[in-house]
Symmetry: C2
């Protein structure tokens, strides 16, 4: 998605060789028009697969997941939570998700009422790095008996291997900007 790649080159910042900071337009301050366009692109890429629910993890995946749900005809959107709030009294499906960026392991949960065998799920997230978050969400779908068709990632860091791992699990993976290197403070795309 050229609009996105241009924006990453203009406003993205490399931190070391692993982290791309895009918080001026994607995951702290949000360019709503850009994210709406991202939602329309995911809707196009995952059309015809029978998707009837969008699943993401709080918090930074929510804007693009919302935009995708809207672009696919106002599908229900579920965001997995990272802790158990005390208002969540019913049973939950859970998975562990490691964040390499933050050096943490989160317990990610979805209420059992909101995911089940009737659901054909598309995962949406802002970043695809090692694939830990998406693997955790796919695991939650399996536990719920839901079909998980794929992952739409806004930015993939290809050199961290997540897409390959997810494709081996049978997921269709579509990333709107695929980064091959962040070495020497320079952002390189795969095409």
């Amino acid at each position: 998605m050229q609009l996105l790649k241009d924006r990453i080159l203009k406003d993205g910042k490399c931190i070391g060789t692993d982290i791309l900071k895009v918080d001026s337009f994607l995951n702290h301050q949000i360019d709503v028009a850009l994210v709406a366009e991202i939602g329309r692109e995911f809707a196009r890429l995952f059309a015809g697969l029978g998707v009837n629910k969008i699943l993401t993890i709080e918090a930074s995946g929510i804007p693009m997941a919302y935009a995708t749900a809207h672009a696919m005809g106002d599908l229900p959107l579920v965001f997995a939570k990272k802790t158990t709030p005390n208002t969540m009294t019913d049973g939950v499906y859970s998975a562990e998700v490691r964040s390499f960026t933050k050096g943490t392991v989160s317990h990610v949960i979805v209420n059992q009422n909101y995911l089940g065998p009737d659901d054909t799920v598309l995962l949406i997230d802002d970043f695809l790095a090692h694939g830990e978050a998406a693997s955790g969400l796919a695991e939650i779908c399996r536990k719920a008996g839901a079909k998980c068709v794929g992952l739409g990632a806004v930015i993939e860091k290809k050199h961290q291997g997540g897409a390959e791992k997810l494709r081996k699990q049978g997921l269709k993976v579509e990333s709107l900007a695929v980064i091959t290197s962040l070495a020497d403070g320079k952002i390189e795309f795969d095409n």
Copy 2:
């Protein structure tokens, strides 16, 4: 907003006398069409005030804040973060926010690059209870030199007093459903 009140009566659940659970359509599973309508209603209620930025707190305020930003002409949306991720290297504005529901105190931050004297800010959140979250966001606006014009809350629990506190600070407060009591498992609105 009648559509919202009807939905709360249909799908909301009381937990004790203080907590209204709406996670089937508002803050875990999201009814995207309803949230889009909520965004349009906030855009109508806060029109003509010169708002040029929407501010919320992760995570459950993000969908309605995004919808409002979109309905107001794709304004930039900023969501305050509850912890400092290691990709946030620049200076931040911060405030403490107590959650009565969760029994926690969060350190809420906004990067200094994304809020400043040129901004006229509208706060959006899913719930208004004691007003702690909105007060924290208003404090962050003051620290940034930004003008904070008001708060749009999807659901206000009037008996917890937050709206009155915020109005005394000079904020315009608009809540789309105002609840006066959750006693005996019965949801009562103020009109």
